[in-house]
Amino acid sequence: MRIAVCVKQVPEGAAKRIDPATRRLDRAGEGALNAYDANAVEEALRLKESAGEGEVVLLTMGPARAADAIRKALAMGADRAILVTDDAAAGSDLLATSIALARALEREQPDLVLFGQQAADSDGAVLWGAVADRLRRPLISQVAELTLADGVVTGKRQSEFGYDVIRAPLPAVVAVSDSINEPRYPSLKGIMGAKKKPQETLTLADLGVESDRAGEAGSRTEVLALSEPPSRGESRRIDGDGAAPEAIIAFLAEKRLV
């Protein structure tokens, strides 16, 4: 059984900013594995462990330094990684990204493709829908519990109305939520071993992605301008001393809420 996990490198912590000149996310600083993707990696490892066989392959697209993010997922226990990196891929939107990933996945022919819940930088929670359509495979998203038996995946999906249970035959595409598991920390052995695991670097040409379907040329959305968010107005702060409840009541009374 082969499980592919699509992961993303995102700017670390508070360093996230949009470059006003390019109107793209500034990816120059330290990068980290998108935290939501760690849940997908963890789930892949658990499926492999409970099956007693299989291979977990990481797939990412990004600048060459995205290899840093992959290394953490390899240290968690993934077997090998594929990095799609190409200057012409910079600025790819959902459409352009989904083409490159779908082409790379077609090459790998995994039984199961996993995604994390969303990207912490773009807040996007849509990529799997586009990839599943391009691969022509069944999709289950927002999965809070996943089981795999006899070539069928069963996922418990959280939607606005509660929990649905959805089933699909392999090969399938599944996006997991961040409540599905608690990702493991890489062990020292895992960290040391990660460097020796196979990592393949591919260009768009390797994947047969035409240049007009990649990067900004292949994108059908654009960022036009950036602005400051509207202010919520003045915010008051009380540092918890004994009189906090009285202060809250006074505030609510002033706002005519009690």
Binding site: K16, I18, L94, L95, S98, D123, A125, V126, G129, A130, D133, R134, R136, R137, P138, L139, I140, S141, Q142, Q158, S159, E160, F161, G162, D164, V165, I166, R167, A168, P169, A172, S179, R220, T221, E222, V223, L226, S227, E228, P229, P230, R232, E234, S235, R236, R237, I238, D239, G240, D241, A244, P245, E246, I248, I249, F251, L252, K255, L257, V258
Partner: protein
């Protein structure tokens, strides 16, 4: 501009958030707006859309569309868009709609912008607004190419009844084999107890910071004294501390009460989108660095175990006095 709005439905009625997007679309200059209702046995509810600005409602009534699964809906919408020549398709963001929109984007090779909170026409072109990077910056986005798709954040617009009548037109779906492979084994049914938090004027909500499930009683008691409803974060719902029907946030309810009291809630973006439209937000959290302190009106750094019982008592006294 020929706009199609995907109208999600649940238990026999059209979802309010879809009608809100429909109202917004109908208010745009030069937009000809239709709705799409996809499901099994949905013919009767489709007409409602006319009151919110749709001139036409396209209905695909097919057993293959009975379960709220995305892929057969991509097939049906792709055919409808091609047949009727729509250049724009709008969705109210939801778990289902996001998957449908993304699949349709790939199928039609159309640009998709998500999480939009506003929309306008500037020099004849459609411009969307989106809060980005945990709402720290606002981004104006556009579309390139002939077709445009957009997902709108829940609560971005209100449904506006304009009182028109829509012509209901049926169309039949043809489905790809792979689109029918995922099947619904068990569909969610909402369990509701007490007043809906969506209609409550006051919501008192609890998160992980309460420490343990039993402490939810502190939240319930304050809610009762204030005459409000109880909300919960996804983290505590997933942990089984509180029922799903009370969940506020991205995959839960969107609330806009007069007062929202957040107890032990860090205020991550997934929660924020569900409650940021509250008039007044009071946050109580022992972590002084919690993101919720960035967007509340009154922030209290302190211990919930001490503050909540005393606060409840003070509300009680005030009512009695």
């Amino acid at each position: 501009m020929k706009v199609l709005v995907f109208l999600e439905h649940h238990e026999g009625s059209l979802e309010k958030r879809g009608l809100a997007v429909l109202s917004k679309a109908a208010s745009l200059d030069g937009a000809e707006v239709a709705g799409a209702v996809l499901g099994a046995g949905v013919g009767e509810i489709a007409g409602t859309a006319g009151r919110f600005g749709a001139r036409t409602v396209h209905v695909c009534d097919d057993p293959a569309l009975e379960a709220p699964l995305p892929q057969p809906r991509v097939d049906a919408l792709a055919a409808l868009v091609a047949e009727e020549g729509f250049d724009t398709v709008f969705f109210a963001q939801s778990v289902l709609a996001s998957d449908v929109a993304a699949g349709l984007a790939a199928r039609l090779e159309a640009g998709l912008n998500w999480d939009l909170t506003d929309l306008l026409v500037r020099d004849g072109a459609l411009v969307g607004k989106r809060p980005a990077l945990a709402d720290s910056v606002y981004v104006e986005v556009g579309w390139k190419g002939e077709r445009r798709l957009a997902l709108f954040r829940s609560g971005a617009f209100d449904p506006v009844e304009v009182g028109g009548q829509a012509q209901v037109e049926s169309f039949s779906g043809r489905f790809e084999d792979f689109s029918l492979q995922a099947t619904m084994v068990e569909q969610a049914h909402e369990e509701r107890s007490g007043p809906s938090i969506e209609d409550a004027e006051i919501v008192v909500a609890g998160g992980r910071g309460l420490g343990k499930p039993e402490n939810f009683s502190l939240v319930e008691e304050l809610a009762r004294e204030l005459g409000g409803a109880v909300g919960a974060t996804r983290a505590v719902v997933d942990a089984g501390w509180y029922p799903y029907s009370s969940q506020v946030g991205q995959t839960g309810k969107t609330v806009s009460p007069k007062l929202y009291v957040a107890c032990g809630i860090s205020g991550a973006i997934q929660h924020k989108v569900g409650m940021q439209n509250a008039n007044v937000i009071v946050a109580i959290n022992k972590d002084a660095n919690a993101p919720i302190f960035e967007y509340c009106d009154l922030g209290v750094v302190g211990d919930l175990n001490e503050i909540l019982p005393r606060l409840t008592e003070l509300v009680r006294q005030r009512k009695a006095g």
